[in-house]
């Protein structure tokens, strides 16, 4: 994804594969209560960009 807030996919024709444990961890809406504030950036962007 290009720099926020643009978040354009860098690889527009690619299927993206993520281990399911990783995917569930980062896409969980509850992650924001588990991580400190300064770690919220990545999950916020991942959740905005990818279908859950």
């Amino acid at each position: 994804m290009s720099k926020a807030p643009d978040n354009t996919p860098v690889f527009p024709n690619a299927a993206i594969y993520v281990p399911s444990t990783e995917f569930k961890f980062w896409m969980d809406p509850g992650i924001f209560t588990k991580l400190p504030e300064n770690r919220h950036g990545l999950p916020k962007r991942l959740q905005a960009m990818f279908p859950s």
Partner: protein
């Protein structure tokens, strides 16, 4: 999917070159370090693996300040000594980011997405190095994100 631990995943990334039988994977890392950051347009190394054409693409390096909590059971002094013994400048802990790309049949597969230039000022050259290797982002058919930490997924 292989059940890689974080440590194994990092080691896999660091030693992918050696695993694929590259003649001099270390010299590539040294070149990146000597540059004190990404060497856009030069940081890639082609290899073949059976019917597969591959590239190791350098994204740059994280010049991580020494931190006693970073490597468990090893002191900063021991880390510095180990770096010096390996012929690596030891003022910081250098963490190079190298991404593997494989081409076979109609597939062009990338293993990890790099930092996207959004993690360290000394990293973010993967797309430029991919272009220098003759491959555009739109040609990538699959991206395998092994672990979704910033250094591996911001470049998506």
């Amino acid at each position: 999917m292989l059940n890689l631990t974080r440590r194994n995943a990092l080691l896999t990334a660091a030693y992918a070159g050696a695993a694929f039988g590259l003649p001099k994977p270390v010299s590539f890392i040294e070149a990146a370090l000597a540059q004190k950051g990404p060497e856009a347009g030069k940081g890639f190394r082609p290899f073949t693996f059976g019917q597969v054409d591959g590239f190791i693409l350098n994204d740059g390096v994280w010049e991580k300040p020494h931190d006693p909590a970073f490597i468990e059971n090893v002191s900063v002094e021991e880390t510095k000594a180990a770096l010096a013994a390996a012929g690596i400048a030891n003022e910081i802990v250098p963490i190079p980011f190298n991404i593997t790309l494989l081409k076979f049949g109609n597939e062009t597969v990338l293993f990890d997405a790099g930092t996207g230039g959004q993690f360290q000022p000394t990293a973010g050259a993967m797309i430029a190095n991919m272009a220098a290797a003759g491959i555009q982002p739109a040609q990538i058919t699959r991206v395998i994100v092994r672990i979704s930490i910033r250094t591996m997924s911001l470049g998506l």
